[in-house]
């Protein structure tokens, strides 16, 4: 109807009006009619010419007028028709344009809703290139499964289809999906119309996707505004967490997400904590369990923490750096995470996920807005919190500091004050009215005026008011307060108010008083201290010194303050003192005092003992050193003197002459005694050596003697001679006589030690009435002195009666005797000290020796209480010295020995005899050790036992080693025995087995007999197995060592082992990844593993898990006991969780025939064989077992050192694959018969020898030389192509003599004489030889040489 049929007809486009045509036609027809009818009339009525003309005229007029009329009518009609046509055409044109170019899709659908016609817009909406692609299809072909409102398309379309048939017109929404997958939301209006019987649907389809988006956006904006409003509203009532939840909930809603989650991020930004997890709605919200996890481990939803802005992953399964979801997690299709920042740190991560559409920037902007709002709220909240906290802490601070604050409004006279003010004034803030007067009333009367004046002054002077005063509380007690305030003034300069604080300083006052008192006391102590107390700065300058410093140094304190410490110290001690000071400053100072010498102002050297300590400032920085110094000069001097005396007096004294008076006496002391004696008696005194030379400075000497007489040569000689004579020993008493020098009276008395005259004490130079001036003058002339001077001096000599002088001389003798005694005591003391020192030194030497010796030493008193133990004891027993001192050695009792054992020991030693024996003792940690002990009594001089000394040696290891040795010997013996019988045994068993087979054949059908024979056969087989294992145990089976990967072997064997252990057991294999290859015989190692696994299985009667593990192990020398080897090993362990084994069982574990299994179930050879195999491989087996816990067997095998060829298939025949260890003997075979040569070579190589074979004597010599002659054995054929075997042997032996020689020869070779061979020490071997004979001969030849 529409289509081509709608195209306008061509006539409509004709220029000539139709009305004119019709009218003209009519005119033409009418004209013709008239002409013809008139002509006819003329024919029939000829006389009617005139009528005819008239008729013609009438007719013409009529036709003309009717034609005109017709034309007019037609023209009118035509006009109307024309317009309609044009309109129609235009309308059609418009319609076509509308149809083609409409923005909405317009389609005509058939009765099956199939596309019949559609426009361009349709193509756009349906996402196809041309309408042809749509024709024939239905809109349902372009529909997703689910409609926008969530209804299924199938259901919805049924509904729509139903309605379409009923209603004329229908309008509905429909979601389409384009072939590209893009969803398009449409609005469709359908109109049903019919053409003929056929009904059609015209549908207008409008793409409303954008509109929906806009609407959604608007909705979202509204929602966002609402959210923000609600957020602000709720911000006052909700907690942080609740706010977060609120925001999360709204974030989920805002973005149209299905899920939401929230993680709090820790302060250090290193861990996150999942706090909330939401499903689609609040109902399914739940709080996650404690789930702190490191940020680094979290999935990519924490990417926003690093990015610090929203992160969107719209394709989560393919998103980068995702770490998977936890078990049970909702599947995540896409998500967006947004960080909430505070102070440039991420506090919280909000996440939303599984939105139907992709997350876009809009989502992120929206959530960011919410986050900003949340951030603002939180910031404000933090500020408020801080403010509150500050206020709280301020009032807390006031309370703690006892400071109250107040404001005094001067005009009103009111005072506002903080709670603390009331507290300080001891009043109740409820009842007390704070005014200036009410406060002033409480001020102490004595302080009141001062306080008021100070306040007024400060008001007037505009200064800060500050005053300390007392207040009297209502309780009557006094409190000290410190007031301080500032004043505020108005524009006219009048004070308006004062703002101030009041502080309770009572405690401070008391403390200050206390401190002042303490400081005073301290100062008093320092001032009165006899020790010098001083401080120096870090460079040694004095900064403080007490009064005692003046006494010691002679300098005033002020002078000292300008000095450095070094100025006082003697130069030789300065480095030592400065070194100490430096250390003190550096902080690594050794405590204690030290001594050095100083020189005081008077130039005297003083010994000072100093102790220092650091002085630190409030920042704990050292700023000075404080010292306490004591004058120890006297002590030092005494010490030195004593030391000197000891050294001097304890020299071997053959001749007492050697004893010097200086060594016997303190000369200063002697001088003092002398001076005092002289002052008391007014006589001149001097101590002199036996020969008369003075020891001391003479006191009270006369000018006569010293200045005049002694100045002359003769006078001096007389004096000395006289003194010497006076000093002679005189049992009668002191010698009193006139001096040779002019007869002045002198007296002398000797001081002797051990009968030896060591000094003389001389007094004298008094005159009595007997001397005359003349005598003096004569003497002056005699010695050649000035006569007048001498006489003048003579009169200065004190006069004393003879009796008086005698009395003085007597007392002098008493003094001298006393001095002699004292000298003797000094001597004795010195000797004693020297002896003591020697003894101490000896003791020290001995105790050092005991301390350092490896043997344990225990000393007890006679009651057995320990008085001493040495370090060796401590290390072996595990007890420290302090723990055992005073204890009895029975604390070490192991419980192994009987009471009798200890009783015997005690009986032996208490009877005075030493006891020796082996003893088991228990260490502190409970383990037993064995010691070889000798316990001896120690007797004093009277023969009484005073101590017992035990010297013990820990022999645990030694005994273990011995046991191990015995064990291995035993096993070797068993091995030898086994291999010895195996051959015969096997032959016997072969016979039995063989006959069984024959019997079985011959008794076919005789069931009973057959059964018995089979039993015999089984028994024989068992015997065969046993023999084979015995042979294996004898560990001389040749090994086919190859390079093996233990893990690989285990992996291959594991399924077999699983079958072996059975279903009741599980077998776990735990291989270590980096395992070095080992060199081993594969089948033997498999046998070992099998044995261990079978044992593990049998240890768990109720089933369990057997764990096989491999690992790498490396040992330093002796780390694993004596049997182990240092180096790198591979450890294979087989562990069971079985019954475990007792120590006794473990001890015998590897012995052949030792079994714990029931009779007939175990041969007792499995572990023995394993042991042999592993040992042969250079490894060892370790056993760990706990009763009830299970056992672990660890097999250690050395890693391959690289010289072993890799595993090759057995069939390959090439060079013998035998390991050539260093321990293998080297053999040279010299034989021209190649068959014999290679046989010998093969046999020897199989036995582990390193063999070189050559075919001639010359070659042998060459090879021998090239190898440096290092051969253990030479096997030489007696007859060689280029010489005799014996000669060759001789030559080679000359080159290197260490090799054993075997000469072999066939019988019948007449030239060879066996005795010639044996004579040279060679061994003769008959050819042909059995393999075994060859080996036996080779072995014994080598052993012979050894």
């Amino acid at each position: 109807m529409i289509g081509n049929a709608m195209k306008p007809a061509p006539f409509i486009r004709c220029r000539l009006p139709a009305s004119a045509v019709i009218a003209l036609g009519y005119l033409l027809l009418g004209g013709l009619w008239i002409s013809f009818s008139d002509k006819l009339l003329l024919i029939f009525v000829p006389e009617s010419e005139t009528l005819s003309v008239l008729q013609t005229f009438k007719g013409s007029f009529f036709v003309l007028s009717t034609a005109l009329l017709l034309y007019l009518v037609l023209k009118h009609l035509h006009h109307r028709n024309w317009d309609t046509h044009v309109e129609l055409a235009q309308s059609e044109e418009r319609f076509r344009l509308v149809f083609e170019r409409a923005n909405d899709g317009i389609v005509i659908l058939g009765d099956k809703l199939d596309f019949i016609k559609c426009n361009e817009a349709c193509c756009r909406i349906f996402g196809v290139d041309s309408p042809d692609e749509l024709i024939g299809k239905t809109p349902f072909d372009f529909s997703p499964e689910i409609q926008r409102d969530g209804r299924s398309t199938a259901e919805y379309s049924k509904d729509i289809t139903g309605k379409l048939q009923g209603d004329q017109q229908l309008r509905f929404e429909w979601r389409l999906v384009q072939p590209s997958g893009k969803m398009v939301d449409t609005e469709i209006s359908c109109i049903l119309f019919k053409i003929g019987d056929q009904s059609f649907q015209q549908a207008i389809i409008r793409d409303v996707t954008d509109r929906y988006i806009r609407e959604a956006m608007r909705r979202r904006e509204n929602q966002q505004t609402r959210t923000l409003l609600e957020l602000y509203e709720n911000s006052k009532t909700l907690t942080d967490k609740e706010l977060y939840d609120f925001v999360l909930d709204h974030a989920v809603a805002l973005t149209g997400s299905e899920i939401g989650f929230m993680h709090q991020v820790s302060e250090d930004q290193k861990t996150i904590h999942l706090t909330t997890w939401k499903g689609a709605s609040m109902e399914s919200c739940m709080t996650a369990e404690e789930s702190h996890s490191p940020l680094a481990d979290a999935g990519n939803w924490v990417d926003c923490v690093h990015a610090k802005h929203p992160v969107i992953y719209n394709d989560y399964p393919n998103s980068p750096s995702q770490k998977g979801l936890p078990v049970g997690h909702v599947p995540l299709t896409r998500f967006m995470s947004i960080p909430l920042m505070e102070d440039d740190k991420v506090r919280v991560i909000f996440g939303v996920g599984n939105k139907e559409e992709e997350y876009d920037e809009q989502d992120s902007i929206q959530l960011q807005l919410v986050m900003n709002a949340l951030h603002e709220i939180l910031s404000e909240r933090r500020l408020n919190e801080q403010l509150k906290k500050k206020q709280a802490s301020l009032s807390e601070a006031q309370r703690i500091a006892h400071i109250g604050s107040w404001v005094h409004t001067i005009a009103a006279g009111t005072i506002e004050c903080s709670e603390e003010v009331f507290h300080i004034y001891g009043v109740d803030s409820e009842t007390f009215t704070p005014t200036l007067d009410s406060f002033m009333a409480m001020v102490h009367p004595d302080d009141k005026e001062r306080v008021i004046n100070a306040y007024m002054d400060s008001l007037k002077n505009r200064t800060i008011h500050e005053v300390d005063h007392r207040i009297i509380l209502q309780t009557g007690s006094i409190r000290y307060v410190h007031e301080r305030c500032e004043h505020h003034y108005d524009g006219d300069g009048y004070p308006v108010r004062s703002v101030g604080t009041v502080q309770d300083i009572t405690e401070q006052k008391h403390a200050e008083d206390e401190l002042r008192k303490a400081r005073k006391e301290l100062q008093l102590i320092i001032d009165n201290s006899r020790d010098v107390i001083f401080q120096i700065d870090l460079t040694g300058n004095y900064i403080y010194a007490n009064a005692a410093a003046e006494g010691m140094t002679g300098y005033s304190v002020d002078q000292l303050m300008a000095m450095n410490m070094t100025e006082l110290i003697v130069p030789e001690h300065i480095p030592m003192v400065m070194e100490r000071l430096k250390k003190r400053v550096a902080g690594d100072y050794e405590p204690g005092h030290y001594s050095f010498q100083i020189i005081n102002k008077n130039g005297h050297r003083l010994w000072v003992e100093l102790m220092t300590s650091g002085v630190y400032d409030e920042k704990d920085q050292l700023f000075a050193v404080q010292g306490i110094a004591r004058d120890v000069t006297d002590r030092k001097r005494m010490e030195e003197a004593l030391e000197k005396r000891i050294v001097a007096l304890t020299r071997p004294i053959e001749d007492v002459e050697d004893i010097a008076v200086e060594d016997l006496f303190d000369l200063d002391e002697l001088q003092r005694i002398q001076d005092e004696f002289s002052a008391a008696t007014n006589v001149s005194i001097v101590f002199a050596r036996p020969d008369g030379t003075p020891i001391t400075q003479p006191s009270n000497v006369t000018r006569l003697y010293f200045d005049i007489i002694r100045k002359t040569e003769k006078g001096f000689g007389n004096g000395v001679a006289s003194d010497a004579a006076l000093g002679r020993y005189n049992p009668e008493g002191p010698t009193i006589r006139p001096c040779l020098n002019g007869g002045i009276w002198d007296a002398g008395t000797p001081i002797s030690v051990e009968g030896k005259h060591v000094a003389t004490c001389l007094i004298g130079q008094v005159r009595n009435e007997t001397q005359t001036e003349e005598q003096m003058r004569a003497y002056a002339r005699e010695i050649g002195a000035d006569e007048e001077e001498l006489v003048k001096a003579f009169y200065d000599v004190p006069v004393m009666s003879s009796e008086q002088f005698e009395k003085i001389a007597k007392s002098l003798q008493t003094l001298a005797t006393q001095l002699s005694k004292s000298a003797y005591m000094n001597l004795q003391q010195a000797r004693f000290i020297a002896d003591e020192r020697a003894r101490t030194k000896e003791l020290h030497r001995l105790s050092t020796a005991i301390n350092q010796m490896g043997e344990m030493v225990v000393i007890t008193d006679i009651g057995g209480n320990i008085e001493y133990v040495n370090p060796a004891f401590e290390s072996v027993s595990g007890y420290s010295r302090d723990e055992v001192l005073g204890e009895n050695p029975r604390l070490l009792k192991s419980g192994i020995h009987s009471k009798m054992f200890y009783k015997n020991m005690w009986e032996c030693i208490s009877s005075g005899n030493p006891w020796s024996g082996q003893m088991h003792n228990r260490r502190k940690n409970g383990t037993i050790y064995i010691e070889d002990a000798i316990v001896s009594p120690v007797c004093d001089a009277q023969g009484n036992i005073v101590n017992y000394v035990g010297v013990k040696r820990d022999v645990t290891k030694l005994i273990k080693l011995e046991e191990q040795f015995q064990q291995s010997q035993k096993m070797e013996a068993v091995g030898r025995l086994a291999s010895g019988v195996a051959h015969d045994f096997n032959n016997i068993l072969q016979g039995i087995l063989g006959y069984c087979s024959v019997l079985l054949m011959e008794t076919e059908g005789q069931e009973l007999i057959q059964q018995d024979v089979k039993e015999i056969r089984n028994t024989a087989r068992r015997a065969g197995d046993l023999t084979r294992q015995l042979l294996a145990f004898s560990r001389k089976q040749p090994m086919m060592q190859t390079q093996l990967d233990l893990n690989q072997i285990m992996a291959e064997q594991i399924s077999m082992l699983r079958r072996l252990v059975g279903e009741k057991f599980s077998l776990k294999f735990d291989p270590s990844r980096d395992l070095s290859p080992i060199k081993a015989d594969r089948s033997q190692i498999e046998q070992v593993v099998m044995n261990l696994v079978v044992n593990a299985r049998d240890a768990m009667p109720d089933g369990g898990c057997v764990t096989i593990a491999t690992k790498y192990a490396s040992f330093a020398l002796n780390e694993k006991g004596e049997r182990s080897h240092a180096g790198d090993f591979v450890c294979l362990s087989v562990a069971d969780a079985g019954t475990g084994m007792e120590q006794k069982v473990i001890e015998h574990l590897f012995e052949p025939f030792f079994t714990t299994k029931p009779l007939g179930q175990g041969t007792g050879l499995g572990l023995a064989v394993s042991y042999g195999i592993v040992e042969q491989h250079g490894g060892w087996i370790e056993v760990e077992s706990e009763i009830g816990e299970g056992s672990t067997f660890s097999v250690y095998l050395p890693v391959c050192s690289g010289e072993i060829v890799p595993e090759v298939p057995e069939t390959e025949v090439n060079a013998p694959q035998v390991a050539r260890g260093d321990h293998h003997k080297r053999v040279m075979v010299v034989e021209d018969d190649s068959q014999v040569r290679s046989l010998a070579r093969l046999i020897l190589e199989q036995a582990g020898y390193d063999v070189i074979d050559v075919m001639s004597a010359s070659l042998a010599t060459e090879v021998f030389g090239a190898n440096g002659g290092i051969f253990d054995l030479l096997l030489i054929d007696a007859v060689l192509p280029d010489g005799s075997g014996v000669q060759l042997a001789d030559t080679l032996r000359k080159m290197a003599s260490s090799a054993a020689v075997v000469i072999f020869s066939a019988y019948g070779e007449e030239r060879i004489r066996a005795d010639e061979i044996t004579k040279r020490g060679y061994i003769f071997l008959k050819k042909p030889f059995a393999a075994e004979t060859l080996l036996a001969t080779a072995q014994s030849a080598i052993e012979m040489i050894k």
Partner: protein, 122 residues
């Protein structure tokens, strides 16, 4: 009927092997050591040799080497009961001389039979 030369120094083994193999329709010649075996060799010209290893006078290895020299393709089966003095195993060694089947004593006769049949291609 295939002929087997059986070499063993143990008489009971000789006799039981012989009886057993004869029951399985082999013609069996026996020798008590290597020397005897080599003497018999031409006389019996065996299709297969079963030999013990350790024997007095001439042991199994010598026999095998000699046999290899004379009859390189003659199938040999070696059975060893171990050594008396030196606990050594020669069976891996004889494999190098082309002895394909080796057994340790005591051997199950059925196993031996299988091996013989296999070697003779039966």
């Amino acid at each position: 009927m295939a002929t087997i030369l059986l070499i063993d120094d143990d008489s009971s083994i000789r006799s039981v092997f012989k009886r057993f193999l004869e029951r399985h329709e082999y013609s069996v010649s026996v020798a008590e050591d290597g020397e005897a075996a080599l003497r018999l060799l031409d006389e019996v010209s065996p299709d297969l040799v079963v030999t013990d290893i350790m024997m007095p006078h001439k042991d199994g290895i010598e026999v095998i080497l000699e046999l290899r020299k004379q009859h390189p393709d003659l199938p040999i089966i070696a059975i060893s009961g171990g050594m008396r003095v030196a606990p050594m195993d020669f069976l891996p060694m004889v494999k190098k001389f082309g002895v394909k089947k080796v057994f340790y004593k005591p051997v199950e006769l059925s196993d031996l039979l299988c091996a013989i049949r296999e070697e003779l291609g039966q």
